[in-house]
Every structure is written in C-alpha cells, then in structure tokens.
Amino acid sequence: MKKWAELALGVVTSMGGFLEVGSIATGVQGGASFGFQLGWALLLGTICLAILMEATGRLAAVSGRSYADLLREHMGIRFFIVPLVAVLIPSFLVLVSEIGGVAIALQMATGIAFRWWAIPIALVGWFLLWRGTFSIVEQGTAMLGLVSLVFLVAVFKMHPEWSAIGAGLVPSRPDNDKAKYWYLAVSILGASISPYLYLFYSAGALEDGWTIKYLNVNRITAGVGNLFGGGLALMVLVGSAIVFMPRNIQVDAYEQISLVLATPLGRGGFVLFLVTLFITCFGATVEITLANAYLLAQGFGWPWSENMKPAKDARFATTYTVVILLACIPIALGADPLKLTNISMVISAASLPVTVIPLLVLMNDERVMTTHSNGWLGNIALGSIAILAVALFVLAAPLYHLGGG
C-alpha cells in the first residue's frame, strides 16, 4: 500500500511540476504559429527528459550520490567547471523568467505593474526555502500545480480534431516560415529538457532517502509522471493552436496567453489561468533556486540539505538566498519576461551536451552503477539524446538569430 502511495506521489509530483514559464510560453507560441504541427517537438522533449531523469534518479538510488557530486568526482575539477558554468547561466536566466511569470500573473490579477512584484516574490520564495523541508518545497508546489489540468479541460471543451493532434506528433516540414518553425522547435525542446530538472531530480532522490529499492518508483516517476506532464504541455500547445491560429494572432505577451483558457471557459478560465501561471512559475522558482544551490554545494563538497537547519549548512543556505535575490533584480528593473523566457530556452537547449555526455559515461561505469549500469537500450537512448544535444548546441544560436530575435 505504501509503495502505491509513493508511486502515485511520484507521478503527481512530476505531472504537477511539469508546466512552468518556459513550457507555457514556447507551447503557446508554437501552437499560435504552426497549429498542432510542433507537437512532435514536445513529445520528443518529454521522452528525452524522462530518459535523463530516469538515468540520474537511478544513479542516485544506486550510488547514494547525486549527479553533480559524481560529475565532479569522476571528471575532475577541470572538466566540472564547464558544466557548472553551462548550467548556472541558463538556469539563472530561466529562474529570472519564472519570477517574471509569477509577477505577470500578479500584475494581471491586481493591475499593479509586474516589476513591483519581483522583490516580494523572491522574499516569499526565500522564506519557503528557509523554513520549509524538501517535501514541502517539491510536493507542496506540485500538488497545487495540478491546477494546470485546467488546460486539459479547456481543450476538451473546444472539441479539437484528435486525429490532427496525433498527426502533429510525427515530425514534418513546415510549408512556410522555416526559420521560425525550427527556432520554435528548439525552444520547445529547450523548455522540456532543462538541465536543472534532472540535477534537481537526482538531488531530490537523496533528499527523499532513495535506495536501490526505489528503482521502480524512479522508473514510474520519471516515465509515467513526465509523460502525463508532457501531455498537459501538449494541451497548452493545442489550446493555443485552436484559439490563436484561426484568428492569426501572434503571441508576444503573457497577457494574451490567458485567452487559451478564457476563450472556452470564460471569466473562470481567465482566473484559472492566473492561478496556474502563478503556482507553476512559483514552484519552478523555488526548485531552480534550490537546483543552483545543490549544484554548487555538491560540486564543492559543502554540507547541503533542504531538510537541514540553515545554520548547519551555511554556504548552501547563503547560496540559495543570494541566487533568488539576484534573480529578482532584472524583473524589478522591468525586463520583458516573455523575451527573457525565449532567450533562456534557447541557451538552455545549447547547454545540454556538457551534462548529457558525461551522464552517458557515468551510467556505464560499473564502479558507480555496480550491476545497474546501462544496458544497450539505455545507451542507444542516452546516446541519441547526446547527439540531439550536440545538434541543439550547434543550431540554437543561428536559429534564434534567424527565427526568433
């Protein structure tokens, strides 16, 4: 019985925590410009994320160590510094965007300009980290994040052609606007496969005390949970396609996105959009802040745990305090949240190789994985993601230049 509860909790956590500023923004822009046609990018991104999370979760459950910890130990400091910087920069930008998402939700609810909300949001997020435990931070926000199921309700109410949605899951070439199409594909992939997600996940496995007995919980959480989450993100894209595409509306501000829910559900839909944007972005805000602190603490061997009193892991607690306060500054200065989100997703996509390729190495190291190292199927899967990651690294900047900026 307890096992079932744990499985259900894992699925809910991945699903409720899936949507955030990046998946909402890129999904809506993709749907508005190309209908259901970019569904494949979301499916591909979700599958990649599920595979990466399963791997880092297995790594943590088998070795009792986090991915960042092993990355430093096995690759050495000279290499570690590269993924460290390559993860910190995009995750910081994504963090700023998440704070922007929360701030926009509050602006739409109150009429007070979003920049004034940046500091209060950072303080509330910080307070949650300072006082809360890991399960409050992770599961609490994910449970509330289930409000994002409203996108599924909205899409059902608009009676889409399900076969057309299915057809979008198969990659196809665009008829026009090629650069924009591929740029949006890259940003959807970047939003789905953020490095902070699997770094956070492997640290979380240790916070929750996972051992080798949790390999099944890991598989279900990473696999089923993410597929459900990806399904929700697909509903965002589909809803946007139905609402915006026939009206030929290009989405260039978060305010417009509320129409995806307000069109089928009216005033209630508008309110639920604000609640969804607020909760999902807030949940991501605290998780990314923690992910940055985990990465530094584990890489440099400091004491760390969200379950410890801040006095017991001072460098860790100081790090998340500084990170969340720094991240609210650009929004407080009035940076455009949507533009910031778009560029963050592209940089995030470009940063993938340095965390994906070493993972492939570690998953095959029997000193770490004992008898649970990757089989041929796992290696083909991770290897393909590594190739995709290199392609994204090469293509991200040119495509952003041609199709986005």
């Binding site: 050495g76 400091i77 510094i81 300072w130 890991f134 929750d208 061997g301 004491p303 009193k309 006095a311």
Partner: protein
C-alpha cells in the same frame, strides 16, 4: 577489484568528511613530499579554493586574484596529512574536526555573521520521512 589506492580516481576530487561524517569539501590537490635520499611520498591532502583554482588553470587563478586581491595563496587552504586518512569509500573520512580546518572558515563565518542573524536559521526542520 584492484589492489591499492588509485590516487587520481579514488582520492583526487573525492568528497571528504570529518570525524563526525560532516562534509568538509573535496580533495582539491594531492602533494608529494620530496625527501633527501628517499623516494617521494604522498604527504598531504589539500582542500580549498586556491588549490582548486590552480588545477583549473591560470585563467582561474587570475580571475580569483581579481576578486580577492593579491592573496599569498594560503588563505582558506587546509593541508591535512595523508596519515589522517581513516577510511576510503564513497567518501574519504579524515581524522580531523571541521572546526579546525582553515578551508571551513568561510562556512563558520557565514553561519555566524550572516545565516544565524536571520530569524529561523536554527529553527526546526523535520528529518527526512
């Protein structure tokens, strides 16, 4: 299983813990002692930013100098004799106390002057479930 200790794989960059199993950083460098008329031997485990920066490369030491001024390279660096090594496993346990290490001064300073001045720093957090 191999015999002996592979310094590069098993010691360099490994997570170090003190007598009470608290994290005290990583093995940032290993130093050999050169002795007259005898073969050199591994003498110290070095923990701390300066040792780490040197391994990363010149650009990193340069960068660190920009931020810290002209340090003599000894600030915040712990040199623990190799003989203090108690066990080698996933982590390496050293027979030292966290409070004695110069490389842990930052942690203590932050705890005292920053973290503990904020209400709730010592407050209750539940153990993992």
């Amino acid at each position: 299983m191999k015999d002996g200790l592979d310094l590069r794989h098993d010691v360099q960059d490994a997570q170090l813990v003190d007598r009470n199993s608290e994290n005290i950083g990583r093995c940032d460098a290993l130093m050999l002692e050169l002795r007259d008329g005898k073969p050199p031997r591994v003498a110290t485990i070095v923990i701390g930013g300066a040792a780490r920066n040197e391994r990363i490369g010149r650009w990193m030491t340069g960068l660190a100098r920009l931020f810290h001024g002209r340090g003599d390279g000894s600030d915040g660096v712990s040199r623990v004799p190799f003989s203090a090594m108690k066990t080698v496993g996933d982590t390496i346990q050293l027979d030292v106390r966290r409070g004695e290490l110069p490389s842990e001064h930052v942690e203590q300073w932050l705890a005292e002057h920053f973290v503990c001045r904020i209400p709730g720093a010592q407050g209750k957090k539940e153990r993992r479930k």
